[in-house]
């Protein structure tokens, strides 16, 4: 008897479907992709019971006629490419013609669509991938897909679904990623009747960030934009101010050609650019949009199109790192400039003097968040309780052909980083895109520090310097710490090169030092044992979960246990990233701790020559504005500001 037989059509397509749709979030992702490809400017997603009961995705895109609607559910039916070469210049999200048939194979699907300009709409119902009903109906232009009883016929896959809440959260994450990728489209996400996300679609990154992260985070973000001189890569995005960090990478979002992606090289580039401004285990806020010629990227790597392979990882890495690095530097500089700028702007505002004008300003986004009310989609016939809404004027939300967002007016001038970054490595001096090359931010500020006259010390901690109409306050401890930190990094690089490895020498303990670890700390230790051993710790494990230290890094003998616990706590919440050389990064960050210990303490008295030496070393640093823990090293104030506070001028 022959054992091999051809799978029937439905079984085969159900197996294939597993590749494309594995949970409600992936269904939503595919349907939203289709809506975006159809030119939608408003997309509304609603789900019930985590999407397991039902998912509805409604758009105002171009719609389909009856014939296309039927065809859309045939395998490999797509309007987006006709031959394989088209993939190289792909501008749409979809291209395989697999999504709709795959979804129809694992759920009951209702499609309602009205082509733009057509007299009426058309509805299709499918069960088990087969069309079971068709009818004409009146409806607004656009398309609505309703997916019910997902995986009902597939107990095995159904079992893999998590709780309603977890699935709903994943779905929200997926829509959020799309919304962050497409600020020109208004997204709304409702779960069981509650709106959880609503973006305005006004094509401004700030507005999306405001809708997604809320006011507290959004106002600490800074817009930047970078065009690479060769005209290949264009980067724009939002960066968090230095103190805005998380213990996980959930605030790092990357978008390439309006497609949300996960590319380890980008994570690495951004975090490396932040190096020295973050504490161990902290991750920054970065929302980056990259625009590249489509032929330079390959989207056909993963069935869910989440990953993306670059034609040249390292060039993208270098460009992103230097763009973000330049932006951060300018942000820090802008923070220093802020005080003067703010007070100058408030020249005639006498009430400002009565308040407390900040001496140091952190970069604040200048944009106001009075965003227009997000557009609404009209109700469909035969749908469940959707509140009625009025369709907003289409022209306002017309999608832009390419993501070439102009910076919104009102952004601070010095934050247009083009000049700052263009002066960076390898940019041709005669690049046509650049204005006459201006000095980098640090190069403008630092010589002034050297010129400045030393006027004394406040609280044995803050050095007072005067230069022209400005004064600077320098935190002597932070400054020294940063100098030591950079020296250590250099020494470590040198030692590694010579194979000396002196930094990682370990001092064995005379008798094991017992540790009493909380369960959480113990879990981190177990998970990252190799990291701790690489740093120079050695452990002895006894019965009953006992752990003791049998050796510590030679540099940590003063406080062997405290330094270990600190490290454990810092690692506790961090999620290991794929392939970002974590060990190396940890080691580097560990230096910051040692630098801190050796540094001049806040209350040590410094002599004038020592101050001069400190400043000279400080200005020669690669990044002189922030200590290894991300705190500012110096702040600036102005004579004008003082005069105003003393009411010498108004």
């Amino acid at each position: 008897m022959s054992r091999i037989q051809k799978l029937d059509q439905l079984t085969a397509s159900r197996i294939a479907a597993g590749e494309v749709v594995e949970r409600p979030a992936s269904v939503i992702r595919e349907l939203c992709d289709n809506a975006l490809d159809a030119g939608a400017t408003v997309i509304r997603v609603a789900l019930e019971q985590g999407g397991i009961r039902s998912i509805r995705v409604q758009d105002d895109g171009r719609g389909m006629d009856a014939a296309d609607a039927r065809l859309a559910f045939e395998p490999h039916a797509t309007s987006k490419i006709t031959q394989i070469e088209d993939l190289d210049s792909l501008a749409t999200m979809g291209f395989r013609g697999e999504a709709l048939p795959a979804i129809a194979a694992v759920a009951r699907v209702t499609l309602q669509t009205r082509e733009q300009g057509a007299a009426g709409g058309f509805e299709l119902r499918l069960t088990g991938g087969e069309i079971v009903a068709e009818r004409e109906l009146g409806m607004p232009e656009g398309t609505t897909v309703l997916v019910e009883d997902l995986f009902h016929e597939m107990p095995a896959r159904f079992k893999f679904l998590r709780s309603d809440r977890a699935e709903s959260q994943r779905a929200l994450d997926a829509v959020t990623r799309l919304a962050l990728a497409r600020p020109d489209v208004s997204f709304r996400f409702d779960a069981d009747g509650k709106t959880q996300l609503h973006t305005p679609g006004d094509n401004r990154l700030e507005s999306v960030a405001y809708a997604v992260y809320g006011d507290a985070v959004a106002k600490r973000l800074q817009y930047f934009r970078y065009d690479d001189p060769d005209g290949i890569v264009q980067i724009e995005g939002l960066l968090g101010e230095p103190g805005l960090t998380r213990r996980s990478r959930s605030w790092e979002t990357f978008v390439i050609n309006r497609r949300p992606v996960q590319v380890p090289a980008l994570l690495r580039a951004v975090e490396d650019a932040w190096q020295g401004r973050l504490m161990r285990g902290e991750f920054p806020f970065a929302l980056l949009h990259l625009t590249l010629p489509p032929e330079l990227i390959d989207v056909n790597v993963h069935p869910q199109k989440l990953e993306l392979r670059f034609w040249n990882d390292s060039q993208v890495y270098r460009t992103v790192r230097s763009a973000v690095g330049g932006a951060l530097e300018a942000m820090t500089y802008a923070g220093l400039e802020r005080a003067a700028a703010e007070t100058d702007a408030a020249e005639s505002d006498t009430t400002a003097a009565a308040g407390t004008p900040p001496l140091s300003g952190s970069p604040r986004m200048a944009a106001e968040h009075g965003t227009p009310a997000p557009p609404e989609l009209p109700d469909l016939p035969g749908t469940r309780s959707m509140p009625a809404g009025v369709r907003s004027a289409d022209s306002e939300h017309a999608p832009l052909p390419q993501p070439s967002y102009a910076p919104a007016p009102g952004r601070p001038v010095q934050l247009r980083l083009h000049d700052v970054v263009a002066a960076d490595e390898g940019a041709p001096a005669d690049s046509p895109a650049t204005e006459p090359p201006t000095l980098q931010a640090r190069d403008r500020l630092l010589p002034r520090l050297l010129e400045a006259r030393f006027r004394g010390v406040l609280f044995d901690t803050y050095l007072i310097l005067e230069e022209g109409d400005d004064f600077f306050l320098v935190d002597q401890h932070a400054a020294h710490e940063k100098i030591l930190y950079e020296q250590l990094l250099a020494a470590a690089a040198e030692e590694a090169e010579e194979g000396r490895g002196g930094i990682w020498i370990r001092q064995p303990c005379l008798a094991p030092l017992p540790l009493s670890l909380t369960a959480a700390r113990r879990a981190v230790l177990d998970a990252r044992l190799d990291l701790f051993e690489a740093l120079g710790y050695a452990f002895a494990f006894g019965p009953d979960n006992e752990v003791s230290l049998s050796a510590v890094p030679a540099a940590a003998v003063a406080e062997p246990v405290a330094s270990l616990l600190e490290l454990l706590d810092d690692l506790e919440e961090e999620q290991p990233a794929p392939d970002t050389g974590t060990r190396h990064e940890e080691r580097l960050l560990n230096f910051a701790t040692h630098a801190c210990k050796a540094a001049i303490k806040a209350h040590d008295h410094l002599h004038e020559q020592e101050v001069a030496a400190l400043l000279e070393q400080l200005v020669s640093l690669a990044e002189p504005f922030q200590c290894p823990h991300g705190r500012p090293i110096l702040i600036r104030g102005s004579l004008a500001e003082l005069e105003r506070r003393f009411r010498r001028s108004v």
């Binding site: 030591l484 020498i505 030092l513 030679a554 405290a562 050796a598």
Partner: protein, 374 residues
Amino acid sequence: MKFMTDTGDLLEAVLHAQKAVAVRTSMPLLEGILLEASGGQVRLVGYDMEIGIQSVIPADVSESGAIVIDARMLADITRKLPDPLVRFETVSGDREIVQIRSGRAFFSVNYRAGDNYPVLPEVARENRLVLPQRELQSLIARTVFACSTDDSRPALSGCLLESTPDQAEMVAIDGFRLALARHHRDTGDEDSEPYAVRSFLIPGKALRELQQILGDGDAEMYTSENHILFELGSSRLVSRLTQAEFLNYQGIIPTNELSLITVNTDALRSTIERSMLLLSASDQTRSPVRFRTHGEDTLEVYMVTSRGTLDEQVKIQLQGEDIDCTFNPRYIIEALRVVPDERVEMAFKGGVGPCVLRPVEGDAFAYVILPLRT
């Protein structure tokens, strides 16, 4: 309050009490020294709630009372007084002013009323142990440097004092090294009484202060459940006792060495001091010093840091296997600085086993360290 006393006596008492005055505290009163005059004497007290030091000096008291004066200022003023005699007198008025007169100098300074100054813990005269102050001082000097300064490990940040009828021992272990100092009672001296058998774990911080106020005569020690009291004639120091189990250190001191070098203490100390000149702030804890023997009479001491290198040969006598190992130079130098003997031995157990440093003669000192590993 009104009294007259000897300026020199006062200065000594102020300097003693000042050692226990709190540096950073939320109680301003503790930043001062309490002066309490009554019945022919003045009691001076400094107390940071951990350690208290009291000195008593004779005085001509015409009006008793208690005041607190800022410790730094009082020490500075007393040091500069021009005359061998000094008078203190509080003046009545709405501000709290005390006048300090000495020769032609006449200070009027602020004080705080002494009524609320905390009382030093009472320690009953029980669990007595008497040691000569000089010997106690020497025991502390040879061990306290090996205490941990990390307060989170109390057992490692204190010294264990143990006495038996004919000897007293002090031990400190910071986790990475052990220092043991021993003193034998002079049994030939008819006046010397056998020591009581005691065992106290005393915070290193208290011993560092105590070390500086010890002089001649006997030190009497008493302990209560939580405190230890040192009576030193006109001064006394009270400290908390460390409530922790001391490490069982007997097993840590190795025997049966594989190699033994004998070296002149000063020669080795100055070599290592020279090697440490190459350490910068950031090298402090991570540049090891390397010990390597060449033949039976030469020890090569080698240090490499980011600033440069030192290579020096020291004359030694070696018995047993050749030695090649690295140490934290600070650990070696600190021991060499407190050994009074002209020659010391270092006993090794290979390149990674424990090393013992001890005088060539006698058992008054032993110091154990572990070589570094890469």
